[in-house]
């Protein structure tokens, strides 16, 4: 039945956490009361990408974009907007860039420079309903492939498109498919790597939650191309909503015979099964992932033989990541030439980035390759909040490196990021400002890799641990200049001699901060100060005379180290203080400073 109006409520994880389900229930209740349920359709859609504006509600037609909607606002939206057609202007989203209230979705500057291919359906359709996917040309690409293309021409089209793996390494997807095609075996597998483990990356989660069918369709196309009839999606157990929507999508696709035997009466059959990860970062590495599906400890093995030759249970296997697959149906619908025309010469298409950290608009953005980091961070991301100064942007998670102000105008693609000592990774982009200590950031990533190293090869298992020891020593104020040399030499050793990509890239955060922020390291080891005021042993917090006695700092102090009465200047007891910085963050008038310790007071 047709409805005169659609109300799209964001059902992405962030908005759900901000109670978007309660909004739906309230909409249902009020619309029912107004007897409008027949005319208006409520849709729990996927992520709109503006995660810190949630919960988001979009009304179509008109594409009115409401942000920070609460249960109390629903009645007004229904009575004013739905019944009378009046826009509730107080709820209109403020453009995060020029702070003007925006009526129409498409006027948002946030979307201006974006080009949504992988995220084409996120926020546009109800991911729980296969018919909405089909209405936006879903499964048309699969139909076209099965009815009019040979497996060889599918592979050729993929190669022509220039699509490169979005999981991090950027290997040509068409070539990967071609390798799997060449292996002769009755049994082959297609695996979708949805073990998105990089801290700060959530683009794959958004695709799975907002448009699960695009992945299923692409896996079936890949199966046809390489001669496989069984696919597995290896998804993190930390993504329960994605798991639920994938299970539902698989069931619906089977019911409509878009999965199963004899799809589109072509004689080709394909099944997909879900397998859950269990909290091991290394399982994002393809050989470790396969070991995990097989029921083993998720440890990587040496390549070659590559999975395309000897993969899951010894059979040829093609592994691609979620975002890579999400691009595939669009490529077959619009053609490889269309895709190739987007982006840069060697990196065609777009890339989804998860913007996080010290940035005004946290959320998901999809931009053509070749966009500069400056455009992403300042034009789309809205720059650094609280008038702080940009320091660095970290891409590629624990495998990537920090990029400084100097390199912000470099067009982003796979090769340019590697040239800058970082990497694309899966697409996490964490922005850091002057309050972040780069030595501490390197230590943070090492702490993560030490935890996640599987222990199979010595360079990674022991090397990362020794690097962390040195970084801890430096952060504690006990480092020496010799430690920096040792750190660098271990980092290079681990990089050159580790078995898998986890170990080979683990030193990147250390090496890139050593290159770009050596002065901060030197400040830590020679002057014994932490310039950013982060490392506890090298910093002191003090409350200045600006204090208005609002008590917020005392309330936020986790160790009750702050005393003082209302409207009087507060004092920090430095013997109790754990230097967590919570007070500084809570202070409304910037009265708390974390000045580096004066030299004589050190240690």
């Amino acid at each position: 039945m047709l409805s005169r109006m659609h109300i799209l409520i964001c059902g992405g994880k962030e908005c759900l956490s901000s109670h978007s389900k309660e909004l739906r229930d309230e909409f249902n209740r009020v619309l029912n009361e107004l007897n409008l349920l027949d005319e208006v359709r409520l849709v729990m859609a996927g992520c709109f990408g503006l995660c810190n504006q949630g919960p988001i509600v979009v009304m179509t037609p008109g594409e009115t974009f409401y942000s920070h909607v609460t249960v109390e606002d629903i009645r007004e939206i229904c009575e004013e907007h739905v019944v009378k057609g009046n826009i509730v202007s107080r709820l209109l989203i403020k453009d995060p860039i020029d702070k003007k209230k925006i009526k129409n979705y498409s006027q948002l500057k946030f979307y201006d420079r974006q080009r949504r291919i992988a995220l084409r359906n996120c926020g546009q359709i109800n991911p729980a309903d296969i018919n909405e996917y089909i209405a936006r040309d879903g499964y048309l690409a699969l139909g076209k492939v099965l009815s009019s293309m040979t497996p060889a021409s599918v592979v050729a089209e993929m190669k022509k498109s220039g699509l490169r793996g979005r999981g991090g390494a950027g290997f040509s997807t068409g070539q990967k498919w071609e390798f799997a095609t060449r292996s002769v075996d009755d049994v082959k597998y297609v695996i979708c790597n949805a073990d998105e483990g990089d801290p700060g990356a959530f683009m794959d989660r958004s695709v799975l939650e907002g448009d699960p069918h695009s992945v299923l369709e692409a896996m079936a196309i890949c199966g046809y191309a390489i001669g496989s009839h069984q696919g597995y999606i290896y998804v993190r157990a930390e993504y329960p909503i994605a798991v639920e929507r994938l299970n539902n999508a698989i069931k619906q696709a089977r019911e409509l015979h878009l999965l199963g035997n004899n799809i589109f009466s072509s004689g080709f059959g394909f099944e997909i099964e879900l397998r859950l990860g269990a909290g091991a970062f290394v399982c994002g590495e393809e050989t470790a992932l396969m070991a995990s599906i097989e029921g083993n400890r998720g440890m990587p093995r040496l390549k070659p033989p590559f999975p395309a030759v000897k993969g899951l249970w010894g059979h040829p296997t093609n592994v691609n990541n979620v975002e890579t697959f999400a691009n595939v149906p669009a490529i077959f619908l619009k053609g490889a030439d269309w895709f190739k025309a987007i982006g840069t010469e060697k990196s065609s298409g777009t890339k989804v980035f998860a913007l996080g950290g010290k940035i005004a608009n946290t959320g998901l953005v999809e931009i053509p390759m070749g966009t500069t980091l400056r455009e992403v961070i300042f034009d789309i991301g809205g720059g650094i909040p609280n008038r702080r100064k940009f320091k660095a942007v970290q891409t590629g998670g624990p495998s990537g490196g920090c990029i400084t102000e100097k390199a912000l105008d470099t067009p982003i693609d796979f090769d340019s990021l590697v040239a800058m000592g970082s990497m694309m990774g899966s697409g996490g982009m964490i922005v850091m400002d002057e309050d972040n200590c780069m030595v501490d950031v390197a230590r943070f990533y090492l702490d993560f890799t030490v935890d996640e190293s599987c222990g199979k090869c010595t360079p990674c298992r022991e090397g990362t641990r020794r690097m962390l020891d040195i970084l801890n020593k430096i952060c504690a104020g006990n480092g020496t200049l010799e430690d920096l040399d040792l750190l660098e030499s271990i980092a290079n050793m681990v990089k050159d001699s580790s078995l898998c990509a986890l170990g080979q890239t683990a030193p990147n955060p250390v090496l890139s901060t050593l290159t770009h922020f050596r002065d901060e390291y030197i400040a830590h080891v020679v002057d014994k100060v932490c310039p950013a005021g982060v490392c506890p042993n090298l910093t002191n917090y003090t409350i200045t005379d600006k204090c208005i006695g609002c008590t917020k700092c005392a309330l936020n102090c986790p160790v009750s180290a702050i005393s003082g009465t209302v409207k009087q200047k507060h004092v920090i007891d430095l013997t109790k203080c754990i230097r967590c910085g919570a007070c500084k963050k809570a202070c409304p008038v910037n009265a708390i400073t974390s000045k580096p310790l004066p030299k004589e007071e050190n240690r």
Partner: protein, 159 residues
């Protein structure tokens, strides 16, 4: 640790049921362990022995797999599980302070369960809700844009 593991006949019957259906597909171990973790709240050695026998694997192999993955635990967890995200986006926005607050208030180190079995405090890997950083979760509920005072507030309600 005084939390008792509750292994009832009924739960074991459920485990056998799960293994029976998993055995029919290739790679039955991981799905079985996920279910076992759900049924018993942990996978102690007694349960590992049952799984080893039923799936015809050595106990060494099962134990090796259980201890490899962060989501499987050998000991039961508290009724209320508090997870503070230490993913990068949360960390640079101060989630360490939030974790310290919980640790301090509950007198627990990350990874520990309280004597009375009420609370387990954990730090977690990125849960992908970076737009709301810093975040923490209490069982299934996600608290975004959190702060030390929000942590205290939530904890007061839980007690």
């Amino acid at each position: 640790m005084s939390v008792k593991i509750n292994i009832t006949e009924e739960k074991i019957a459920k485990l056998f049921e799960v293994m029976e259906s998993n055995k029919r597909k290739p790679g039955p171990l991981m799905p079985t362990l996920h279910e076992a973790q759900k049924i018993f709240g942990c996978i102690p050695i007694e349960i590992q022995k049952i799984i080893a026998k039923e799936l015809n694997e050595s106990i060494a192999k099962i134990n090796g797999v259980v201890t490899f993955y962060g989501n499987f635990s050998l000991e039961p967890k508290g009724e209320t599980i508090i997870n503070v995200c230490l993913g990068t986006a949360c960390y640079v926005r101060g989630s360490q302070g939030v974790l310290d607050t919980f640790a301090d208030e509950l007198h627990l180190k990350p990874g520990e369960t309280s004597e009375d079995g009420k609370f387990t405090l954990q730090s977690t890997r990125c849960i992908g809700a970076c737009g709301l950083a810093p975040i923490f979760t209490v069982n299934e509920t996600v608290y975004g844009n959190s702060s030390v005072s929000k942590a205290k507030e939530v904890l007061a309600k839980l007690r």
